[in-house]
């Protein structure tokens, strides 16, 4: 049992010594017990009756394959299992010793259960003492009897049972000092007058992301994020889309040139992809008809806001249509409806966990999604005295204001704004045939913030060149893009969604860093 030393090189020297001593002692006692007979035990009062039932396990190096021990997960523990002996592997959430008793709370993901050790025939004083000295967040193997409790335990997720511990092994020990307490990190955000009001600020959380991610809320957020991604894939696959993978190292900036990351590429340099736009369109030109891609997208924007990241996950799709780009726009709109419905059907539990810490109004939407034209939006804004020019983009505050107006009138947090002014859109956007100032482009909004921007693209190389020239873009630099349409290309439209933003806005969170597991922004490259 002295073997576990190398695993603990992170802990402090004194702790190391202490552990070594303890381990030695345990080992000795174990030896002692093996050599002495039962009769001697009764004579000596100090002899530990629980020897061999607790201690630090050596580092598991997969020596033993054949231990047939069935572990029960914490969320499965309930009244049905009462009086059964179970094995549980979980983290030590909190421990509290009181004389001859020690209460510990075990945590597995977001589920917690109370466990109890009290000095008895089977449990020695030393074992209780040992259990109270284990640092928080250590991983334990516990053998225990499930027992019903008369009064439900309010502080745990498993409220009607507790565990009476018979064996307790430390599988992996945590450092005794934690940079943040899980309890503090999972405290609800609403202002409480009474009780502790300690909260962990965003930077501390991000610096110690591994600990922070252990909170029930974060567990739920990332499961929800996975859900969005899965629903996106499932819904589109069902509609006949093909998932493609596009290169992230590219030779030319795809959307404008200002905000790209340059990377050295052997003897020259290359860029990190700002969007898979060009490759999606090439896939359309290559007859894939409907494509989508999920992948990292990079933006070298030096903006430190609540909703910008330098690297995020893009959910992009592109689709060929027959006559009108609304075929695509409504497909995307219905895709969102399907995702929202899926989330509220399948992940209601996660949503309610997150709402406990970050309360927000439930997300509302309409089916089919509400489509407003840009001019209607302008009219609504003008009614309350905010004038937006006919060829002017919406600023972030006006966007939010419009979101509030739409919410008040239609009670929907999701809507589509159609027919944006041509002047504020990139050169490859198809102009509106009926109004020279408008274009066949749309934005989609959640809780008043833009999550998707899309348009019908120009698929005619001659017209594309003309538009590029109009925007004073050097045509020779985008020759590869224009050439993609040279050999015939179906009319198509599409758009790109930021996964983190969708999750943030669906949950009504205030910062995109809460929905990016390891966020990258201009000031953060680690962890």
């Amino acid at each position: 049992m002295v073997e576990d030393k190398p695993a603990e090189n992170t802990s402090s020297k004194s702790a190391l010594k202490k552990e070594a001593k303890k381990a030695e002692k345990a080992a000795k006692k174990a030896e002692h017990k093996q050599t002495t007979s039962g009769s001697q035990e009764i004579v000596k009062e100090e002899v530990d009756v629980s020897i061999g039932k607790y201690g630090n396990l050596p580092v598991i190096k997969s020596e033993n394959k054949n231990i047939n021990r069935k572990f029960i997960t914490v969320n499965e523990l309930n009244k049905k299992l009462s009086n059964q002996i179970v094995w549980v592997r979980a983290r030590l959430h909190t421990s509290r010793s009181r004389g001859k008793q020690c209460f510990i709370v075990l945590r597995q993901k977001e589920f917690t259960i109370q466990a109890l050790l009290s000095v008895s025939d089977a449990v020695s004083k030393a074992m209780v003492k040992f259990s109270s000295s284990i640092p928080k967040e250590s991983i334990l193997d516990v053998e225990a009897r499930v027992s019903e409790v008369p009064n439900s335990i309010a502080s745990c997720s498993q409220q009607d049972v507790e565990l009476v511990v018979t064996q307790l092994w430390v599988v992996s020990q945590s450092a005794p000092q934690l940079p943040l307490q899980i309890e503090d990190a999972s405290r609800p955000e609403k202002a409480e007058e009474e009780g502790l009001n300690v909260r962990v600020n965003q930077d501390t959380r991000l610096d110690n992301r591994i600990l922070d991610l252990r909170t029930p809320t974060n567990q739920a957020i990332y499961r929800l994020e996975a859900g969005v991604c899965r629903l996106f894939r499932d819904a589109l696959t069902k509609k006949g889309f093909v998932e493609i993978h596009t290169p992230k190292i590219i030779s030319a900036a795809s959307e404008g040139g200002a905000n790209v990351f340059t990377v050295s590429y052997f003897k020259g340099s290359a860029y990190l992809a700002q969007s898979p736009q060009l490759y999606k369109q090439m896939a359309i030109a290559a007859d894939f008809e409907k494509v989508f891609t999920v992948g990292a997208v990079f933006r070298a924007e030096d903006s430190n806001t609540h909703r910008h990241l330098t690297e995020f996950t893009g959910l992009d799709l592109e689709m060929a249509f027959h006559y009108h780009y609304h075929e695509v726009m409504l497909t995307i709109g219905n895709l969102f409806t399907e995702i929202f419905k899926g989330l509220s059907d399948q992940l209601q539990n996660e949503i309610s966990i997150i709402n406990q810490q970050y309360p927000a109004e439930p997300f509302t939407f309409l089916d089919p999604p509400l489509v407003l034209e840009f001019n209607e939006g302008r009219k609504m804004l003008a009614e309350i005295g905010v004038e937006v020019g006919e060829e002017e983009d919406l600023s972030t505050p006006t966007e939010k204001l419009l979101g509030r107006l739409v919410k008040a009138k239609f009670d929907t947090d999701f809507y589509i704004l159609d027919k944006f002014p041509l002047a504020v859109r990139p050169f490859y956007t198809m102009p509106d045939p009926n109004n020279p100032k408008a274009s066949n482009s749309y934005d989609m909004f959640m809780r008043g913030e833009e999550i998707l921007s899309g348009a019908q693209r120009i698929h005619d190389p001659v017209f594309l060149t003309e538009r590029a020239k109009h925007h004073e873009i050097d045509v020779s630099k985008i020759a590869a893009y224009i050439d993609a349409f040279k050999y015939g290309c179906p009319p198509h439209a599409g758009g790109g969604i930021g996964l983190e933003r969708v999750v943030m806005l669906y949950l009504g969170l205030d910062n995109i860093r809460k929905t990016s597991m390891f966020p990258r922004d201009p000031k953060r490259l680690t962890p």
Partner: protein
């Protein structure tokens, strides 16, 4: 003011105009409420206030003027007043001459209130904002269907339907209504009103939003529409508009009624309004009250709750719908 605002009479509880006989066993006191003859209460009437005709304001002013004729500046004031009157007379003449030039006859000036010319319809609907109608699928606003059909020659009801996330599934009735509303064919060349019908978990009352805050009740939606769109259903200028309004209120109550007995009471009232005539309120053509009543009965009441008289009328309504 015939019709529904008939108030009831109550018996008089306090009779205060009787002469009070004062006891004479003790000493007499002076009436503290009477202040000589100028007071509000004459001594003879004893506590009862009657208007003293002698001291009406007109007489007082006359008296005052008579007394103050000799005050300086009074003559100036009189002259000034005369001037103003003369100027007003001139103005009146000028306006009359302008009127003659423009050939406006006095009868024409009053008329537009009653005329439902398509020109005024066009002008009005141009200003109509898009309507958002929130309805509970258990209580679909059937009146929209009738309105759409009834007014198809004068205005297009362009209805788009949405399902709000608070509702998971539509009822059969709501689905039928939605299909009927969506299948409506637009006629070209007539004005259009955009209605967005949102199936939402609201109360039994349909609500609609013009600008910001919602207005509840399907009948209020009808009131709004008949005022905004001048058509055969507009009832503002009718002599019995108050009666129509109270029928509308009863329709509102029928939808809201929580028990069968409560509803039965309202149905009896409705039946009274129908009487022996073809349509509600003793009218010869279908009116807004019929539209509202039809919708509320279809939403709330089952067929065995309504009597034969109402059933006949209900069937007449159905032929229109």
């Amino acid at each position: 003011m015939s019709g529904s605002i008939k108030m009831y009479r109550t018996t008089q509880i306090v009779k205060h105009d009787l002469p009070v006989k004062l006891p004479k066993c003790m000493y007499t006191l002076k009436n503290i409420h009477s202040r000589d003859t100028k007071g509000m209460v004459a001594e003879s009437t004893d506590h009862v206030s009657t208007l003293n005709k002698n001291s009406s304001i007109f007489d007082q002013v006359k008296q005052f003027l008579k007394n103050n004729q000799h005050i300086s500046g009074m003559a100036d004031l009189v002259a000034k007043q005369e001037d103003i009157l003369k100027q007003l007379g001139d103005l009146k003449k000028q306006i009359q001459s302008i009127k003659l030039d423009l050939k406006i006859s006095p009868t024409n000036a009053v008329k537009p209130q009653n005329s439902f010319s398509t020109a005024s319809t066009q002008r009005l609907t141009g200003d109509l904002p898009d309507l958002v109608v929130n309805a509970n699928p258990t209580h679909p606003p059937f009146s929209l269907e009738i309105l759409q059909k009834l007014l198809q020659d004068s205005i297009n009801f362009n209805v788009t339907c949405y399902l709000h996330s608070s509702v998971s599934k539509l009822t059969d009735n709501a689905q039928k209504l939605e299909q009927s509303l969506l299948s409506h064919k637009e006629k070209s060349g007539i004005p259009k009103i955009n209605i967005r019908l949102i199936w939402k978990n609201v109360s039994v009352d349909t609500e609609f939003i013009v600008s910001h805050s919602p207005i509840q009740g399907e009948v209020n939606l009808l009131r709004y529409l008949t005022r905004a769109i001048p058509c055969q259903l507009s009832y503002d200028s009718y002599f019995d508009c108050i009666e129509i309004d109270s029928i509308l209120d009863i329709c509102y109550l029928i939808v809201r009624a929580k028990t069968k007995t409560e509803r039965a009471g309202h149905l009896v009232t409705l039946n009274k309004y129908l009487g022996k005539s073809q349509w509600l309120g003793g009218r010869k053509t279908l009116g807004v009250a019929d539209v509202a009543a039809y919708s509320s009965l279809k939403q709330a009441a089952s067929s065995n709750e309504i009597n034969s008289n109402l059933t006949k009328w209900y069937q007449r309504c159905e032929t229109v719908a």
